[in-house]
């Protein structure tokens, strides 16, 4: 398989000015400002094959979005190299721009007051899509994302999940070879999240598009990707199979419990590690494998008032990678 994205020792430093608090500080900063530097990327390297769906995982401010922005030509890097499908992204050549797409969960690229359909036809002009190809792609995307009823409604009237589907469709009309997704499930409810994941997966399987997806939800990556790159403080700390990562660092889930009355404190230990105990509230870390069996037992044996099972947080995984 040919290489689609190649990144070598990529660095990005942002400079910004320190401002002291208050009006006096603002006034002072008019004349004298201290320049500060923030190293967002400290020399990262990786390669992605054509057709791969790779997850880019890390906490907020780790450098995920910065990497994506450099790879799509929005930002100039401070140093290092990157080649995406034979192009240096920050040269911003139209030949490259016509072959990739970026969708950002927090940014709206559709025309807010108009139906999504209008943005689609404009994209046809912008990307110079042949009319027949456009019709085919549009039909395919409407079918795949189930948006037939949505595209004639003004975008501002859509829910976040619906809008995301339209955003994705708009970005895929020109059949990009590479797709960057920046937090595509952010702010969505669980059901919409799952749907968006299903669509991304379906599209990747259908079109063999290379997808690089950032997220701070473990679930996104676990569900979608074979391979994951974990980044923290501008450094890649893991690059490998999702399965291995999960087995090694995220083989448990968190069970949060609230009891209605006094309970047998020792009985809980056999279902997992009790990490927190505060009166009637208890947090247990339990092995992922028999999570269903164990919760069922807890429910039958204890006076449970409330129970929730949560996925591992990325921050926990990262600290576990560091501590080994």
């Amino acid at each position: 398989m040919p290489i689609s994205i190649q990144v070598k020792n990529l660095r990005k430093t942002f400079d910004y000015f320190k401002k002291e608090p208050g009006l006096a500080g603002s006034f002072k900063s008019l004349f004298w400002r201290e320049k500060l530097y923030n190293e967002a990327l400290k020399g990262i390297s990786f390669e992605i094959q054509e057709g791969e769906l790779v997850g880019f995982l890390g906490p907020n401010g780790a450098g995920k979005t910065t990497t994506l922005k450099i790879l799509s030509g929005i930002l100039y890097p401070t140093g290092g190299e990157a080649v995406v499908i034979g192009h240096v992204p920050w040269k911003r050549e139209p030949a490259y721009q016509k072959q990739f797409a970026i969708v950002m969960g927090q940014k709206n690229q559709l025309w807010w007051d108009l139906p999504a359909q209008e943005s689609f036809t404009l994209n046809k002009e912008i990307y110079e899509i042949d009319t027949r190809v456009y019709k085919n792609n549009l039909d395919e995307l409407i079918e795949l994302f189930d948006i037939k009823e949505l595209i004639d409604v003004p975008v501002r009237k859509l829910s976040m999940g619906q809008r995301m589907k339209c955003e994705l469709a708009a970005a895929l009309l020109h059949s990009p070879k590479v797709l960057f997704l920046d937090e595509p499930t952010i702010g969505l409810d669980i059901i919409s999240q799952e749907k968006i994941r299903k669509y991304i997966e379906g599209y990747n399987r259908l079109k063999k598009t290379t997808v690089l997806l950032t997220s701070h939800y473990m679930r996104d990556v676990e569900r979608l990707c074979k391979r994951v790159i974990v980044i923290n403080n501008g450094v890649i700390i893991y690059d490998g199979l999702v399965e291995d990562l999960m087995n090694r660092y995220a083989d448990y889930k968190t069970i949060r419990l609230r009891f209605s009355r006094e309970y047998n404190e020792n009985g809980l230990e056999k279902y997992g590690n009790v990490v927190e105990r505060d009166g009637l509230n208890v947090v247990i870390k339990a092995s992922k494998e028999d999570i269903a069996k164990h919760t069922a037992k807890i429910l039958s044996e204890f006076p449970v008032e409330d129970l929730s099972v949560e996925d591992v947080e990325i921050e926990d995984v990262i600290s576990k990678i560091f501590t080994g």
Binding site: S72, G73, I74, Q97, Q106, W111, L122, I126, E128
Partner: protein
């Protein structure tokens, strides 16, 4: 030698074809974006009418002001009443031309940069400055002033007997030149936004720049004249095209105007291109 000339001829030919293709592409894009913007405008129809009425009122006020001034004097810096009417009308026309192309895009630029939506303009296969301009084409913003402008120019023109056959095409040519000056100046001022993020104040500068251009360039003398011709070219925007219609245009002023137009546009585009590299996008 023969081969060299042949290949360079072929190359010139292909470059010519490419330029034609680019022009065709951007004309097509302009049309698509214009329709898109009109659809958006029509959602707020009442706003549309208010704007037109307000514009007409504003221009009428400045005509009345001039009328009052000319009640006391026969000319301002050599410009008679009817000539001044053409000057005021020309400002309106240039302004509407700017709104039909780039002006509102610059007004929105600060927001795009602060919220990071400028990202979109960086990833599409269109030049970011053209995409920004086309994204915010506005027909209604200055339409009233334009209608008023055309009326004033025609009215003033009919009361003068200085016209020749060439007047009208030359007038259009110098209108385009003024638009180049205006665009170049806007690009220069707005390039600062990539360093300071807030742009509201910047466009106030551009606004006063246009406001002041309704006075004839001839009112400036000495240092002022140099300043307002070459550095802040308000002495050209309306004065140059209006000079054509009023028969006041000399070779020297015509040449200076064109030189200023071309150099403002090219410097503006260059500085803008360099400034974009400094775009740091909003995080998140």
């Amino acid at each position: 030698m023969e081969l060299f000339t042949k290949s360079s001829a072929v190359r010139t030919f292909y470059e010519g074809v490419n330029i034609l293709k680019t022009i065709r592409r951007y004309t097509g894009l302009y049309k698509a974006f214009l329709f898109q913007n009109l659809k958006e405008d029509m959602i707020y129809r009442s706003n549309f009418i208010t704007l037109v009425v307000m514009d007409i009122a504003f221009v009428s006020i400045s005509v009345v002001l001039f009328k009052i001034i000319f009640g006391h004097v026969n000319s301002i810096a050599g410009w008679t009443f009817h000539q001044s009417v053409i000057l005021i009308g020309t400002v309106g026309i240039v302004r509407e031309m700017a709104y039909l192309t780039f002006r509102r895009g610059f007004l929105e630029l600060g927001n795009h940069i602060r919220t990071g939506t400028f990202d979109t303009f960086m990833v599409r296969p269109i030049l970011p400055n053209i995409h920004l301009a086309f994204r915010h084409i506005s027909l209604s913003e200055s339409l009233g002033e334009c209608i008023m402008g055309v009326i004033l120019v025609v009215y003033g023109f009919m009361h003068l007997n200085t016209w020749s056959l060439l007047s009208i095409p030359l007038y259009v040519l110098f209108l385009i030149n003024s638009l180049m000056v205006y665009y170049g100046f806007s690009l220069l001022i707005n390039s600062i936004v990539f360093w300071v993020i807030k742009s509201q104040e910047l466009n106030t500068i551009v606004y006063f720049f246009m406001e002041t251009s309704r006075y004839p360039g001839d009112i400036f003398r000495g240092v002022g004249k140099i300043l307002f011709t070459f550095i802040i070219p308000i002495g050209i925007i309306a004065t140059a095209p209006a000079s054509i219609l009023t028969g006041r245009m000399g070779w020297k002023f015509a040449a200076i105007s064109i030189i200023v137009g071309v150099s403002f546009l090219s410097t503006g585009l260059y500085v803008w291109k360099k400034s974009i590299e400094h775009y740091s996008s909003a995080s998140g």
